[in-house]
Subunit: 217 residues, 2 copies
DNA sequence: GATGGATTGGGGGATCTACCCCATCCTGCG
DNA sequence: CGCAGGATGGGGTAGATCCCCCAATCCATC
């Protein structure tokens, strides 16, 4: 058997997923003529980046949601340190916003974890030859996605603090601005997002993935 | 090769995870002498239950978070229709509350997806012989878990409505009670949970998995 | 049958939210 | 240069929230 022509790095926080992907990638006949060899696995974003810098593989298969660094950050870093690496992102359920970011940052492949993997593995040879492939599910999601109500930097900060349970007074102290200004940002925020209460604001933020659900309190 | 002695059903909403688990379970040498055969896969809770009723396998490997029915519901239904099936739950990151529920409902095995699978596969033979095994991570989580602030039925209803963005007035109309009573429940709720605003209430509810993040608006 | 909890609800008040009004300052852009 | 847009705030207000006070009912458990 000849040496595998393509090297791959697999990044996912679940060990089972990593071994499943490794097995699938290395199964003979997937990519002709020599197949793919998984040279490294990573359980979090930072070690994924480290693995990219070390191996500069042909392919990076990575999950969107990972500890320490998300899919988007890893994508950007991968582009920086190993521009020729094809980056394929696997996503669980994510918001149109996140998906859109990934696409506009130029992922080479974008697939859902939930659907069959046939689409992924069917498209892989093409991707390794430089084609791009965004899963049908996500393409529809992006078309149907209605609003992209882009928020300013300050608004995003305020939103994050609101969502973590801070009152206007606390936010004002944290950001070193007046309560009135926080109030202003909040009003603009709710107008942009077309909601009318903190609860809806939080629900929206979580749904759209504007903020991490892991941000404490 | 002799017929496998143990039949298994694998339930997870991600196809990659299912195939990874199938490969690992069916790899020779895992369980002596005859190994495990995966007789069915399920991508959601309801088909998991259906598979259990049809196959009555020795082992059910299932994810906590699945569409249509969660891990707990599937566990309960599995016990009902196939009491001799060993149920092993795999969990991503979940709250102490959910973990505690699973344990007190008597799962035969409880493992984290993030950690190495060695613990799972090492414990599997024992589990198939009737032993129970809760992963070290979760055992520590349960020990360190401080509060179990159990809420009344009404409080839970109110919490759910608050979290989905309803105002006190709306909640009062929905439940057919006075605004004052809603207010009362809310106050008690916040006292029990030691929080002081809607935002913190929502953050708490999401963090502890008291409510589904998928509840609209 | 008494005690405790859950649920119900009214009065009242301090505070906060949501949203108007207004203005200033700065920065980037045609 | 003007001018839009972002960020900054002050005044004001109707309404909502948060949290006290109080008491009634029902229901289980001791």
């Amino acid at each position: 058997m000849s040496e595998p022509r393509f090297q791959a790095v697999v990044a996912d926080d679940h060990a089972i997923v990593r071994s499943g992907l490794r097995a699938a990638l290395e199964s003979p006949g997937l990519v002709e003529p020599a197949g793919v060899k998984v040279v490294a696995e990573a359980a979090d974003g930072l070690s994924a980046i480290a693995a990219i810098r070390q191996h500069r593989p042909s392919l990076l298969l990575l999950d969107v949601q990972m500890p320490l660094a998300g899919g988007l950050e890893v994508l950007i870093e991968a582009r920086r340190w190993s521009p020729e690496t094809r980056v394929v992102v696997l996503s669980g359920v994510t918001s149109p916003g996140k998906i859109g970011e990934l696409v506009s940052c130029g992922v080479d492949g974008l697939f859902s974890k939930g659907e069959d993997n046939d689409e992924l593995f069917g498209a892989l040879p093409g991707i390794l030859r430089g084609r791009r492939h965004v899963s049908e599910v996500f393409r529809r999601m992006l078309e149907e996605a209605p609003e992209v109500p882009d928020l300013s930097e300050r608004e995003r900060q305020v939103l994050n603090l609101v969502v973590t349970g801070r009152s206007n007074k606390e936010i004002a102290q944290i950001l070193g601005i007046s309560v009135k200004t926080v109030d202003r940002h909040r009003t603009n925020l709710m107008q942009k997002l077309d909601v009318h209460s903190v609860a809806q604001l939080i629900a929206y933020a979580l749904r759209e993935g504007l903020i991490a659900p892991t941000s404490g309190l």
